[in-house]
Structure formats: C-alpha cells, structure tokens
C-alpha cells in the first residue's frame, strides 16, 4: 500500500467518544490494551493515549507515561539537589499500527509526534530521555531512529531502548 502523507494524518487524545472498536493491529495485547484498559488508565492518570486518524479512522495509537532511569555503580559528578543516579524520562509504553495500514508511515509519524510532544513537556517539566520496551520484531525501528539499546535487555521478550532528547533544548 502507498505511504500516507503526514498532512493527512491527525493525532488526537483518546476520549469517551473515540471510535476504537475496529482498530486491529497484529498484536492482541496492544489491541486489548486500547479497547479495555487505555481509557481507564487515562481516567486514573496513569497513562495517556493518543490516537492517529486517517480519514477519520483510527490507524494507530501511542501511549505515554512518566518514568525514570536509575543508574547503578557509576562513578562521576552528581547534580546538586537531585536524587543521585535517577534521571527523569517519558516512556512510550505502547505504539501500534492497524494491520491494514502497516508500512504506510504511520509508526514513524506517531514516533515523531511523540518526540514533538516530549519537547513541549520538557520545557515545563524536567525530563531528558524517551524510553521504550520494544517488541523483538520492532527493534530495527528504534535502532533506525538512534535509540540506544540496553544491552542487558537484548535477549528479553521486550528489549529496552532509550533516546537522549538533549538536543531538543536550545536547538531550534
């Protein structure tokens, strides 16, 4: 199928009126999360889900949560007034594309949108890293966009990556 122009994609926050019933990715876990858990988690303020629309149809979604990175056993300077070795991050907890629209540029569009959202948030609340637990078959996707693989997790079911968003500060 052809790529969809980014101009034709819209990202909106999930709400009670969002029609998600027909969304179907290749991953049942992600489908179940969107249909059963995402709105409840949002109401509980534990995650926020954003839907990607094409021609008013949900073709993908991304879910974000606040998270942290803890670094152990490393010598070096500490930041005054800051918990040692703990660094604020945002986690891309879910990212899925409808199976009828894979390969059309929706995943990259959502990822770039998340990076843009990150920049906005990081201007108001300190956070520097975007993290993600990848499906094994999606590792190439995050490597393509310079996410760093946590080697310790390489052989796990969901290898973890992080992206240093430092450049979003002061680089316009």
């Amino acid at each position: 199928m052809d790529k969809i122009s980014g101009e034709d994609l819209r990202v909106r926050r999930l709400n009670n009126h969002s029609n998600i019933i027909n969304f179907c990715s290749v991953n049942d876990d992600l489908n179940n999360f969107l249909k059963d858990d995402a709105l409840l988690a949002q109401d509980n303020m534990t995650s926020i889900t954003y839907l990607c629309f094409w021609r008013r149809v949900v073709v993908g979604f991304a879910t974000l949560v606040a998270a942290t990175i803890e670094v152990k056993q490393v010598e070096g300077p500490r930041i005054d007034g800051y918990a040692p070795n703990t660094y604020p991050s945002i986690k891309l907890a879910r990212l899925a594309v409808d199976k009828n629209h894979t390969g059309r540029g929706i995943g990259p569009h959502l990822l770039f949108w998340v990076m843009g959202k990150f920049e906005k948030i990081s201007k108001e609340i300190g956070c520097r890293y975007l993290t993600v637990d990848s499906k094994r078959e999606s590792m190439w996707f995050y490597e393509k966009y310079d996410f760093i693989l946590v080697e310790k997790t390489r052989n796990k079911t969901h290898p973890t990556f992080y992206l240093d968003m430092y450049l979003t500060r002061g680089k316009k």
């Binding site: 999360f33 990175i69 770039f112 949108w113 637990d133 450049l167 680089k171």
Partner: protein, 50 residues
C-alpha cells in the same frame, strides 16, 4: 482474555549500560541526523497538537 504487558516505569542500568548512559549524559553527541529528526518532530507536533 490476554492482559497487555505490564508497564515498567523504572529502567535500571548497570555495568556497561550504566557507563554508556553516563558518558552520553555528560557528553551528549550532536549529530545532524538527530537535529533533523527533532526538527521534523517539532513540525509534525505543531500541526497536530493534541
């Protein structure tokens, strides 16, 4: 029904992963690829504020 994977909020880095992380924190690399990537991200977000 299959439950979705639990979301782990804390990533713990040790040993070589920790060293690489701290090196990147203290000496972040500015690459043209990243600059271009974040510029594109900014544009996409600006057109889709949610």
């Amino acid at each position: 029904m299959v439950m979705a994977k639990q979301i782990d909020l804390k990533l713990v880095l040790e040993d070589e992963d920790a060293r690489i992380f701290m090196d990147g924190f203290n000496h972040p690399k500015v690459t043209q690829k990243k600059v271009d990537m974040f510029k594109k991200a900014r544009e996409i977000y600006r057109n889709n504020r949610a």
